[in-house]
Symmetry: C2
Subunit: 342 residues, 2 copies
DNA sequence: GACAAGCCTGCACGCGTGTGCAGACTTGCA
DNA sequence: TGCAAGTCTGCACACGCGTGCAGGCTTGTC
């Protein structure tokens, strides 16, 4: 159609073009796309019609510049998140773009603490900085964008300089320990994650607390650094004792897979008849029949929603008051928890 | 330190601030950061020193506006890419940001062809549009950003209106078929991917060609739609005949896992003693001991490099001539291919 | 018919940066 | 010392858009 061929030409359509076609001034075009500005209904209609014909929409970046308010949100991720990350990552991206923001992804190599790379790449005004990588410290995040409070995901709530969104892992773990207790489990082993990671220590603390509260026995522990390979290496230690723990609690799903694979390939122990396995995250492989893993799912949608809520609150602190969504950790009970009778 | 506290204050540092501190005009600051502009060495040094002190770098977006040349590259992804995607996705993001560009991620829901959502979100000038989702058609991509040629990854090279980067799957498949032939395989089954996907048909065609060329027998085929669940459902059809195929070739790794799991959980057939399994992509689980999958790895780095090469070429068509990197598909031989004797 | 009030529009400036252009200053040479 | 050539800098405008402000027009009322 002619409309298409016209707009297919070299460059973007500007407000001036629309103004010309609609027979109004450029400011009228700007006002037609503004929620608050003063404009006659029929003028607005004429402008919007012309805009639709030319396939025009305001350049949000030039707009940001003019308004002095960026709508770019930078999401810092880490290659390590490749397994667990995708769901939270894409939920976050989706939420941001659906709220009219522009998600810019900054990918750090696993060993990069971001001290220099963040500064080098963040050469534009941002509305928010979201850190999903636990290799980035609060100080680095603060320093990278001095004029904005970073939002750290699953990070220790230590600093007053950042907003921190933490999944309610403790609640999920408490619930899971309850379930293990009810199904007769009395001794558990624990496969920890990277000790420098807050998620790992948070999960460890919660588990230790709940186990003590129940009077259960933390029989044995090992460290799998959150990776399959390390967990596979560490798995023997968990089952080397003369008595198997009733259940093995893994700080994430991937390590649970490693333990299961180790047991399956190298021992006679059966899951869940001889030992129960519990994971954390509910990654997509957890539902595969070969694993069928009982695990705990973080409330990803609520976390994404919390990010948006914080950003909205900042835009308009007085009217829009901030009440953080409550995070719910969901038990996903599949086939790796058996029944024990003492 | 005092420098930090000064720049920690409310807003971004502007060129004017640097100019003031260095005792020069604002244009001098701009020129100090330009590669081509004319500026006295010692002036440049003084400006850069002041800039470093204030922690200044030019606002790349305002710069884009002034230069009329955006450095934003939009990457369109799909939730479906969650398994295979991460490696290519993060390689691409990394390459883009390392080349000084700004990667903006646009995530489509699996059923979205992008017709409206792309237009709604692409409200700013972009340097490039990279489509990784095969749910987006050439027409939609073309129309979404009329003034720029989309770069489609692993898409059929049908249209002259787009640049297309296609991995050399055929070469990898030829090599793999060679290897299967050499190890005595004579009949193969094929688990296809989503029929609407170019990757799937490309792989199917390549396999059919090579098999015919060798005089091997394409014994049976099924369609797993590239997903674990569908492949698990379709797996029985591949082994239902009275004679097992010597090898089963899967159009991606995840379906290979599904087939292996089906065999392990529901049949007596052993891999690779009774049947060999071949995947495609070399996702991270392929190296897990439970799978230890022999597969074919796409040349991800070259694909990312090709994207950058195209973008660089467009910036400067006359001097920088475009020679596309050659893609190499790499055989990753692990433990799922046995030896057959007829 | 005159005037006031209110609705609406265009003008003009600003957001932070790049860059052509003119002119100032330096340098070299006669 | 005078002049030309060359080197560098600042001015001013532009990029596309938002918005305060003044003024024009319409409408209603007396």
């Amino acid at each position: 159609m002619s409309t298409a061929s016209r707009s297919d030409a070299g460059r973007r359509v500007r407000a001036t073009d629309v103004a010309e076609l609609a027979g109004v001034s450029r400011s009228a075009v700007s006002r037609a796309f503004s929620q608050t500005a003063y404009i006659a209904p029929e003028t607005k209609a004429r402008v919007l019609k012309a805009a639709a014909e030319l396939d025009y929409s305001p350049d949000t970046l030039a707009s940001s510049l003019a308004k002095g308010r960026s709508n770019i949100v930078v999401v810092v991720i880490n290659q390590v998140d490749a397994i667990r990350g995708p769901s939270l990552h894409s939920a976050l991206i989706r939420s941001l773009q659906d709220s009219g923001r522009l998600p810019v992804v900054l990918s750090l190599s696993p060993t990069d603490d971001g001290a220099t790379s963040l500064k080098r790449h963040l050469t534009f005004p941002v509305e928010g900085l979201i850190v999903m990588s636990d290799s980035v410290s609060v100080e680095v995040a603060r320093h990278a964008v001095p004029y904005v409070r970073p939002i750290m995901l699953n990070f220790e709530r230590t600093s007053a300089d950042v907003d921190s969104i933490v999944a309610n892992d403790a609640a999920g773990i408490a619930e899971m320990v309850n379930h293990l207790w009810d199904t007769g489990h009395r001794s558990v082993g624990f496969m920890a994650g990277r000790s420098s990671s807050f998620s790992s220590t948070m999960r460890w603390n919660a588990l230790a607390l709940e186990i003590a509260r129940k009077g259960m026995n933390l029989a044995v522990e090992a460290n799998g650094e959150f990776t399959y390979d390390q967990a596979y290496e560490a798995a023997p230690a968990l089952v080397a004792g003369e008595k198997l723990p009733d259940a093995i609690f893994c700080a994430n799903d991937v390590m649970a897979f490693a333990v299961m694979d180790y047991l399956r390939l190298n021992t006679q122990h059966r899951v869940p008849e001889d030992v129960s396995i519990v994971g954390f995250d509910d990654v997509f492989m957890a539902s595969w029949p070969i694993y069928n893993l009982s695990t705990i799912r973080q409330d990803i949608d609520s976390m994404a929603a919390a990010v948006i809520a914080i950003l909205e609150h900042r835009r308009d602190p007085q009217t829009r008051k901030f009440d953080p969504p409550t995070m719910v950790a969901e038990l996903v009970l599949r086939g790796t928890i058996g029944r024990r009778t003492q």
